[in-house]
Symmetry: D2
Subunit: 303 residues, 4 copies
């Protein structure tokens, strides 16, 4: 396996020069495009890493997996009264569908859905941002994980579209708390700085029937882990969920920081990272790495 | 396994009385709602059946799996120049998205997508309807399979919405052949009358890496089978793909005739059938049966 | 007045070279772009003409005014059960709004609306195309007016988008007759070949409280004439109704043949024609001519 | 004329009991539904009033006419770089069209358009709310006109949907100033409390080629007045612009406070008011009053 990740590391770097670093906030635009890391965490606790796998990067939308998991732990299936679980078929930050469906977002992996989930956590926790950060630390076994204050500030300065979605949902009665407070929690979570190794360990509970290995305990129920995987499979890759399912065939979630986490249920998690994105907002080199790995291992979601 | 399908047969019949038989064409509206059948076909060739598993019913949208497979056999990945492979997020017969995306349907499992696929087959075969019927016979090992002429005539009489979609796509240059001819082929395929046993055997190639057991040959490449499964997982259950993925977690395709085919990759196919549908057009009892089976067997797409 | 139309004729020709001749059907694409005509018909029966004002051209969407008038004569306000009378805010041939509003077109001046109106005439008249042609002859006092068979054939060959709209409306129960027959009547009316002089005389009833001067009789009630003018003001210029209202401020209807008819209520009609169109499908030179005339005369809709 | 307005006052009151008082903000929901007033202001300075014509009510969207006029005075036609002037065909507070058209509202009489216009005034004036109030006072010759602080506070508390629109436009770069500040100015203007008499006098410049009679001066150019009338004709009555144009045929602007101002160019302004609204947000009794008056006087926009 170490040989495989080393080889993938080498081949994925050939993609440098393709795609563009996210520029929707200045703090992300400064990233070095020529970075690539990959980490595998097997269910029996082995970690294999290559390249820049220990560099912390902005998790961005990968945070939506944490938000969803933590919210499902509190609200179980009543969460689905606030957010759907079907693919949206629209860009991740669209207001059109949100208006047509009266403020109930299609799924928790589009921005509007994650904002609703964040609102649920604001209702449940006194300091939701700190709670999320602490859980990320415990799940990854890395106490030095931080919320990147510069990224957070940059998100806040450029909040207009997310604010538009939050206010629209509030107009429909689907946000209970103050919009500014909800956005702050949401942005805090997106601004977590974690490495490929951190994420592969932290999210291994999705491959391991809900058991979090760094915590040494059952984090969520087995069937809940399976269900989150299903949502990742259908909705995890922005508009390209179907393309990715067709080519790679694994549950995954990507972020505009360039990271992608993929789950091989029963076996392992894989996190790949490289900042340059394709037109769908998914990392070019990280996608390629996961495609290589899936083909090499013949690992199939469904086998 | 026979015990399990017998038990599911009994429990699923408790759902009689919930849902409504499809009424969009008269020929379907006459179906007896109080029918239920289930058939399992394992990759090693065992068939387990219960209830009305040998009654022929109208395959309707399950035909889209045949259409897609046959078209991919001819066109391979060039097919995707004509049709996408991402979830649509819109009703299966919507024209709005089709117009916005200039006549290229989102995926081959919405009506517009299947009509484009049918147009491809009209270009490739002299008698496409006969070709499809013959393949259905050979895949299921049942030479008596027929196209139901009454259903076909009824589809034709009520073709307005499908005709609207076909003409819109032709306006965008995405239909090459005469609209009437394409619709006729499409409706013929939807009007195939097959039983749960027929379908479970016929589509077992999707569970068996592309090997068709009744034909005794490799019908499509293994990776193509995996890819079709991915599309079924993300797009197979009309608007409820995400709900079904969350609850059942298997690649599946349903039809308004009341049938649903589900794939357990590497293991088996399951076909359940009962005519009464929920508001998404999916059979109430057949969905329930698949949920029971998935939970009992702990079979997970991804394990 | 003759001096004014001569001057406008001269100035409008300076616009030659701007815009593009309609190319959606081959028969129109062949038009000579460097044509311009203008005709004024006053309520007291004077006709002033300049340039190519006696060349027959394809009336195209100007026919929608005839269709609407003839249908209102038969059905009066019950017509509005089939078609709305509010601006659409969408392209004239959009299916999105038609689907959202369940097959009831926004107004009679978008294609879908005119097709519904044509369906009403097919229900009312044994030979609707002939009826429309005959009325056009009597209103203009020109017995030689013809339906251009080449244009009609070309419309038919390229009917896909209009057929899509007609089938969609039929799916919603808003078309009573056979789609092919309805489209044939609609295209026949659009294929009328008339000159600026013909149209200015024929539609003068809209300026003259419903009195048709060539027929010497009250063609429609005065309040109905006023109401058709209101619809022309709000919906007559495709997507540019507001722009045209802002700049010119007169009820008008344009066609992709390059003609525009404008009404100065209580005073006169003006028809200008030149084949090259702007991106909204309105003739560049004809719009300019009407703007010049409105400014020169200080004629205001509302004074 | 006094006799006519007295008669209309009597007949319009028969509509009491039809429609519902606006309830989107609590401060409006408390209005007494059984109020009706009408005032006519002729271009030669006569005022005819009946019923509750001197009761101040919340002008709400009628304020959009003031906002537009004041902004056109500053920016002239460059204003149209920020906002369109075509009918929207969508509900007045829709975000769907705003997103599709990248943050440029269709016209200045939908909420998004008026918010953009307010942003322009925030850029131009140190104290825009005070400026608007002072102009309303001078135009009506009534120095006691106030912004209703309770309505303003209520608008602010229920700003979510307007905030969503403003943030969406800011995301597209079409709002220059702080969203809270822009909304405050917009709501202030909507919260002006004026009577039928105040409004009929204040907006008479639109009937009088731009001459404001209470100020005794040319307020805007004659062609600008004509153009504002055209926008009112095509866009002034929310979704019912076409219906109103068909039935009444005058440029008008309504507000959810129950007021409607109508323009008879060259002659007079009419303001009617009654709080109960139809499903389009237009006052039932005020619309009826204007229809009676238009029919009685035979005044036609276009004559």
């Amino acid at each position: 396996m170490q040989q495989l990740v080393d080889e993938i590391n080498e081949r994925a770097r050939a993609k440098f020069g393709t795609g563009r670093v996210a520029d929707y906030i200045p703090a992300l635009a400064e990233q070095n495009a020529n970075k690539f890391g990959i980490a595998v965490c097997t269910n029996d606790g082995q970690v294999y890493a290559a390249g820049d796998a220990r560099d912390a990067f902005s998790v961005q939308s990968i945070a939506k997996v944490f938000l969803l998991t933590l919210s499902l732990r509190v609200y179980q299936d009543t969460l689905w009264e606030r957010v759907g679980l079907n693919p949206s078929g629209m860009p991740f930050n669209s207001l059109t569908q949100l208006e047509a469906e009266r403020g109930k977002p299609r799924n928790p992996f589009i921005n509007a859905g994650a904002i609703v989930v964040a609102d649920r956590l604001v209702s449940a926790f006194a300091t939701p941002s700190k709670h999320i950060r602490d859980v990320a630390r415990r799940l990854s076994g890395n106490e030095s994980i931080l919320i990147d204050a510069r990224v957070l500030e940059s998100e806040w300065q450029h909040r207009s579209r997310n604010a538009a979605m939050a206010y629209l949902m509030k107009a429909f009665g689907n946000i209970d708390n103050d919009v500014d407070q909800v956005l702050h929690s949401y942005f805090s979570c997106c601004s977590l700085a974690m490495s490929c190794v951190d994420l592969a360990i932290a999210l291994n509970y999705l491959a391991a029937d809900g058991h979090a290995q760094a915590m040494g305990e059952q984090f969520i129920a087995a069937d809940l882990a399976r269900r989150i995987n299903s949502i990742m499979f259908t909705c995890g890759m922005y508009d390209a969920a179907g393309d990715f399912a067709y080519r790679v065939g694994l549950p995954a979630k990507s972020g505009v920081g360039g990271g992608i986490i993929a789950i091989v249920p029963g076996k392992m998690t894989v996190c790949a990272w490289s900042p340059a994105l394709d037109e769908n907002g998914n990392s070019v080199a990280a996608q390629y790495a996961l495609e290589l790995l899936a083909n090499e291992m013949g690992c199939e979601f469904g086998r």
